[in-house]
Every structure is written in structure tokens, then in C-alpha cells.
């Protein structure tokens, strides 16, 4: 089927089987390999993308469901060379070890901060509880999200 959608700000028309998973479409047809797959069953958050600004799991979305939607992957988060404040905070606070969970963590954090610009550490932990880091670097990740929230509030902007 033909699917019209917006990916990282760009209007696209794709030809794809309607039951193709979004994670496969994005990685294999569009080369957006920042969308990671780990469990493939909705339990790890590695394949998190933003659909119309909210976090969704690309392993549990079918191509037909993407019609008319605006998708953001980790590749579309920075403005040119300028990292998104959540990305910047992950870099500065060392919230990255192997990096495999990082795109999902960052996009889940963006969704969290849009809904709740001033989360408590506990709210950050709950907000990221659908994302697993097998390096177990959670402490730095939580600190980075808190730092990003402060930076966004200082700049007076939304995630």
C-alpha cells in the first residue's frame, strides 16, 4: 500500500506492505538505524519513536497505522548541529554507556518533559520505566533528564 507520512520533518510517500512493522520500515527502508530493536515485544523501549510528539513503540506499530502521522526518530531531534537539550545533557553527564538504549531513553524523556516540565526524580524513574538499560546506567540517565528539565526551564522552552 501507499503510505503518506512525515518523518523527521520531511513529507514522504512510501510503498510498503501494510503489516510491515514500523521499526523495520524505518530502519530498512529509510536507513534510520537509530531506531533500535531489542525485545521486539514492547518490553524494552529500545524502538521508541515519537508519533505526533508522543512516545510509541515502533515494534508494535504496523505500517498501515503510520498513514498521515508525523514521526520523529532520534535522527530528527537535533536542530542541525545543535543537539536537543536532552541529548546535550546525556553527553555532558555521561548518561551513555554502550548506547543501545540511548535513542529510546532520550525520546521517552522528551515525551515525559513535554507532559511534565518539572518532574521529581521519582517521576523521571516512572517516566523511563518502559526503557531498559542493560549496562544499568540508570543513575546518570535520571540525572541527565533532571538536568535537561532545568536547562529547558531556564531557556523558557518546551521539550
Amino acid at each position: 500500500m501507499k503510505i503518506q507520512l512525515k518523518v523527521n520533518g520531511q513529507d514522504l510517500e512510501l510503498e510498503a506492505p501494510p503489516d510491515r512493522r514500523a521499526v523495520d520500515l524505518l530502519r530498512e527502508e529509510l536507513g534510520l538505524t537509530g531506531v533500535k530493536e531489542a525485545c521486539g515485544s514492547g518490553e524494552c523501549g529500545s524502538c521508541t519513536i515519537l508519533v505526533d510528539g508522543e512516545a510509541r513503540l515502533a515494534c508494535l506499530l504496523l505500517a498501515a497505522q503510520l498513514e498521515g502521522q508525523a514521526i520523529t526518530t532520534i535522527e530528527g531531534l537535533a536542530q542541525g548541529e545543535e543537539l536537543h537539550p536532552v541529548q546535550q545533557a546525556f553527553v555532558e553527564l555521561g548518561a551513555v554507556q554502550c548506547g543501545y538504549c540511548t535513542p529510546g531513553m532520550i525520546l521517552a524523556a522528551v515525551d515525559l518533559l513535554r507532559a511534565n516540565p518539572d518532574p521529581s526524580p521519582e517521576e523521571i524513574r516512572v517516566g523511563l520505566s518502559g526503557n531498559l538499560c542493560r549496562c544499568t546506567g540508570y543513575q546518570m540517565i535520571v540525572e541527565a533528564v533532571a538536568a535537561a528539565a532545568r536547562a529547558l526551564r531556564d531557556q523558557g522552552r518546551s521539550a
Binding site: 501494510p18 521486539g40 514492547g42 523501549g45 510509541r56 513503540l57 508494535l60
Partner: protein, 285 residues
């Protein structure tokens, strides 16, 4: 390749279902697409229900609150009328899956999956919720206990979908409680859960108790014997210990890969002990 239909109205849905009687409807896909990927099901066609406005939204109808079956758990948790008037439901939904699962999964999906571990079910049993079933020919209403027939089994007939859940706000002063025991806090399938809705008289004695356990039987279990034992009593540890023993006799858990039946039976009683003295103000509505 499997066809995937995305009807945008009920009329379009009935046409799809008439033309493809074996097609499987789905909403969030958080359960169905996992089973499909694992090779457990191979439907000839899929029908995504997420674009039908008539299945969305929350609205008051007389004494009842109508929750569209297509509401996601995230939408329900963001709804002040649910957080304030139905905390037992809000507490349960907050433990369901994880943030992205709550953003994708729907109330209707949780009911139609009809897992004994479905976290939305015990609160809906204590709230005596009704389900609204819709087909091309019209609609009918069924109490939730009649809608869910067994593990994975519902009262839905061919060409029918679940369109809404109706709940009534409990009388003011009702005490709402939900607790789930799982292997971890997020993304945990419940091993045992308990929803309780309790009304007290002026002397803090139980005037009405509704209790429902999840994951300890083929469907959610309401226990009239336990509810009756609490009537007229204060929730002291001694009273609850007796009620817990009755609860352990009433539940019908099985051994599975997550826990053994004996453990579930023990915990089903233990969860009642939490009601002792735990009548925090914020749990009243």
C-alpha cells in the same frame, strides 16, 4: 502479507467486518501484535480500531461515566474525573505495563484480551462496570462479569466489538484500594492483585465491601464470603486475618512460569491484611 484495514467510522468498520468475517480487530496492538510475531496467531486480516472517533472519549451519561473502549490507559489516567472519582481504577492503570504500553494499549483491549492478569479488570469488577457491545445490528449491555467468560474468552459474537465501558461513581466516602504483586514494578504481569472498594458507617465499621482478585483464577474473582465476613466490622488485623483465610480458600490459582499456586494463594490473603489501618485520606473519594 496480511491486509490491515484502518476504518475511520463505524459504518466503514461494519463493511470491513462483513467483507472479512475472519479479520481480527485490534486497538493498541500491545498484546495481539506480540502474539502474532510469536507465531501464536495468524489472522487472515487485521482491523485497526484506533481511527474511529466513536470509540474514543469519556463522557457523563446520567449517573454513569462512559469510557470509550478506544481510550488509552494514558488518556484515562490524565482524566480528572477518573483520578478523583475512581481512584481504584486510576491506581490499577498506573501499574499497567509501562508508559509506552499505557500510551498505546486501550481499556477495550485490556478487556477483550481477557487475561486473568489484566490490570484494568479487578477495579472494574468492584465498580460493577457494564460493557457496551456493538455490532452492525445494534448494541447491547452486559455486566463485566458476564462479558469475560474465561482466559481469553469474551461474550463478543461474530461481527461485534466492545465499544465502551460504563462505570458509576461510588458513593462519596468510599475507600478505594488497589495493589498488585509482580516480579518488578514496571512491565510486570500481575502474580496476584486485589482491588477493594469499601464504604464505612459513621463508626468506621464496614457498611459495604467489594473485593476482586486478579491472576488467581480463570477470571477475576469476587468473593461474597469474604465481603460478608467484613460487614459490620472494623478492619482490625484479627478480622482481616480471618477474612484472608477465607480468601485463600476461595481463590483458584494455578502454577505457571511466574509463580506457583501456593504462593499466589498465600499472597491473595496477605493482600487483604494491607487494609488494616491503611485508610489514608487520599484513597477516599
Amino acid at each position: 502479507m496480511t491486509a490491515v484495514f484502518t476504518p475511520t467510522s463505524l459504518d466503514a468498520l461494519w463493511q470491513v467486518l462483513a467483507a472479512h468475517p475472519n479479520a481480527l480487530p485490534y486497538a493498541g496492538g500491545t498484546d495481539l501484535l506480540v502474539k502474532r510475531r510469536a507465531g501464536l496467531i495468524d489472522p487472515p486480516a487485521l482491523v485497526h480500531l484506533g481511527r474511529i472517533p466513536a470509540l474514543r472519549g469519556i463522557r457523563a451519561e446520567g449517573d454513569w461515566l462512559r469510557l470509550g473502549a478506544g481510550c488509552t490507559h494514558r488518556e484515562l489516567l490524565a482524566e480528572p474525573r477518573i483520578r478523583q472519582a475512581l481512584p481504584v481504577l486510576a491506581q490499577a492503570l498506573a501499574t499497567l505495563g509501562s508508559p509506552p504500553i499505557r500510551a498505546m494499549g486501550t481499556l477495550g483491549g485490556n478487556l477483550c484480551t481477557a487475561s486473568p492478569a489484566g490490570d484494568a479488570l479487578p477495579p472494574l469488577y468492584v465498580l460493577d462496570a457494564d460493557t457496551e457491545i456493538l455490532g452492525a445490528g445494534g448494541s447491547r449491555r452486559l455486566p463485566i462479569r458476564d462479558f469475560i467468560r474465561g482466559p481469553g474468552q469474551t461474550a463478543l459474537g461474530a461481527g461485534e466489538i466492545l465499544s465502551a465501558v460504563y462505570v458509576r461513581t461510588p458513593p462519596p466516602g468510599s475507600w478505594h484500594h488497589f495493589e498488585k504483586v509482580g516480579l518488578r514494578n514496571a512491565l510486570a504481569c500481575s502474580l496476584v492483585s486485589l482491588a477493594a472498594l469499601i464504604r464505612f458507617d459513621a463508626e468506621r465499621r464496614v457498611a459495604e465491601a467489594r473485593l476482586a482478585w486478579g491472576s488467581v483464577g480463570p477470571t477475576v474473582i469476587r468473593c461474597p464470603a469474604v465481603e460478608g465476613r467484613l460487614l459490620g466490622e472494623r478492619l482490625t488485623p484479627a478480622v482481616l486475618a480471618e477474612a484472608a483465610q477465607l480468601a485463600r480458600q476461595a481463590v483458584q490459582p494455578i502454577d505457571d512460569l511466574r509463580a506457583e499456586a501456593d504462593y499466589r494463594r498465600q499472597v491473595a490473603g496477605n493482600l487483604l491484611l494491607r487494609l488494616a489501618g491503611d485508610t489514608q485520606v487520599e484513597r477516599f473519594s
